[in-house]
């Protein structure tokens, strides 16, 4: 076939793809007979009611000297690692507020950090396009410099997010400005699989966030500047299992729902959304009311049952607490006593769901827990 015949065939196929995408969109709309909020109201549910002193800031972790960009809890409850514009990782005991490690990074432009499942190593990445691994049993020099125990090199763009595969200290997944996600073998430093990229169907713009399923660690979700979220199976890297449309701006953050069968997203379009993995449906849009411009969502976290969705926004210090069933904001952590003084850039729920950690451009981390009267059914 000649080049011009090939080009013609390509144009026809592209037209077919666009038509199919439209038909899919229309067919999905027909299946959207309701959303979670309308359904819950119809079932007689009412919003969660918080008393004025129910959710409280019970710790402020001070020590960074620049904006906090990322944080991660250990699986065994009380320790947190945070990454900051000050070029350091700090490891905290959140219960005692003590710093156990303050690691000066070789590259100060860090964007993400993660704790390994066994709590013995931390990973970070950023504008150097590398994911660096540090052992917490290494000794730091007086400057806080700790030798890098492994460098995961190969991305051709910044590392936006990293997460260890649950229960696997040897594997972690990164997302990157080079439009790919990578599954790494930390022991060898080599790529096990690449998701997306030039020769595979994947994201068509920077990937900003990943979240790995707790109930099925072969699955992970990625969120991208191409406005989509994609579900990947690590056993089949050649193409995404499913692509989730709906957002109208960069998808900055993705997080699996506690049951591992749904996930949430937060976007530059000002909304958070809840999607179902099995059916591919968009179940709910969480959009603040008001005439103002849509304020980008920076980060999200679900409470242990999934009833609450915490969302940080790129204005002031807002952290809305959404009732996921009723689709309403039931609290703003930014209006509580001892709230952050600047935007919340990252959020994380402790493993047992008893505490939320927020990280902010005000250089602090805060721990929020339920201090009111709890009624048990």
């Amino acid at each position: 076939m000649s080049v011009s015949e090939l080009k013609e065939r390509h144009a026809v196929a592209t037209e077919t793809v666009n038509n199919l995408r439209d038909r899919l969109k229309q067919r999905r709309l027909q299946l959207l007979d309701t959303d979670v909020a309308k359904y819950s109201v119809a079932q007689g549910r009412s919003p969660v009611k918080f008393g004025a002193t129910d959710l409280v800031c019970c710790r402020t972790l001070q020590g960074h000297t620049g904006k906090v960009y990322s944080l991660d809890w250990t699986p065994e409850r009380n320790r947190i690692v945070s990454a900051s514009q000050d070029g350091r990782l700090i490891v905290w005991n959140a219960l005692t507020s003590q710093k156990t490690h303050a690691i000066k990074l070789p590259c100060a432009w860090v964007m993400t950090c993660a704790f390994s499942p066994n709590g013995q190593t931390v990973a970070c990445g950023g504008l150097d396009s590398v994911c660096s691994i540090f052992s917490l049993s290494s000794t730091a020099d007086k400057d806080g410099t700790v030798p890098v125990s492994r460098m995961l090199s190969g991305h051709r763009g910044y590392v936006s997010c990293c997460q260890y595969v649950p229960n696997e200290d040897a594997h972690l997944i990164t997302s990157s400005g080079d439009q790919t996600c990578v599954l790494w073998d930390v022991t060898t430093g080599l790529k096990t699989s690449v998701f997306g990229g030039e020769f595979q169907s994947g994201h068509t713009a920077d990937v900003l966030s990943v979240s790995i399923s707790g109930s099925n660690p072969n699955w992970f979700i990625s969120g991208s500047c191409d406005t989509t979220a994609r579900l990947w199976d690590t056993r089949a890297a050649s193409r995404a299992v499913r692509t989730f449309h709906g957002h109208e701006g960069d998808v900055n953050t993705v997080k699996f729902f506690p049951d591992g069968q749904r996930f949430g997203t937060g976007s530059d379009d000002g909304t958070c959304r809840l999607y179902d993995i099995r059916t591919g449906h968009q179940l709910q849009v969480y959009q603040p009311q008001g005439d103002g411009e849509n304020v980008p969502v920076t980060s999200i976290a679900f409470s242990a049952s999934g009833r609450l969705l915490f969302a940080g926004y790129a204005n002031n210090n807002a952290c809305y607490v959404w009732d996921t069933l009723l689709g309403e904001i039931v609290l703003d952590l930014g209006e509580l006593q001892d709230s952050h003084k600047n935007r919340i850039s990252c959020l994380g729920m402790s493993a047992d769901g008893s505490a939320l950690c927020t990280g902010s451009w005000d250089s602090n981390l805060k721990i929020w827990a339920f201090g009111g009267h709890r009624r048990v059914i």
Binding site: V17, R28, H281, A304, L308, S354, L356, I377
Partner: protein, 89 residues
């Protein structure tokens, strides 16, 4: 010779692109077919409501059990940090 080489590379690239687009067509047709057997949203909502209301949640004022005493460790005893001066009346 150089022009022929670049022509060959150009053709190879278009062929690869064509392959990807035609594969996309196949996947989209499959997805469209699967949608015909997919549950409507209200079915998923029913499942979700049940799930959320059964699970214990330390951050809710009203929650299913079992209670875990560890949930309140953030308010117990002396701690090394500043800031926590709340108490339960």
């Amino acid at each position: 010779m150089e022009l022929e080489d670049s022509d060959a590379r150009g053709k190879h690239r278009i062929l690869a692109e064509l392959g990807r687009v035609e594969e996309e067509v196949r996947f989209l047709e499959k997805e469209l077919g699967e949608l015909g057997q997919t549950d409507i949203v209200s079915t998923v909502c029913e499942e979700l409501l049940c799930l959320i209301e059964k699970a214990p949640d330390p951050l809710l004022p009203l929650t299913n059990g079992p209670l875990n005493l560890g949930w309140d460790r953030w308010f117990e005893g002396p701690n090394g940090g500043d800031g926590c001066s709340c108490f339960i009346l």
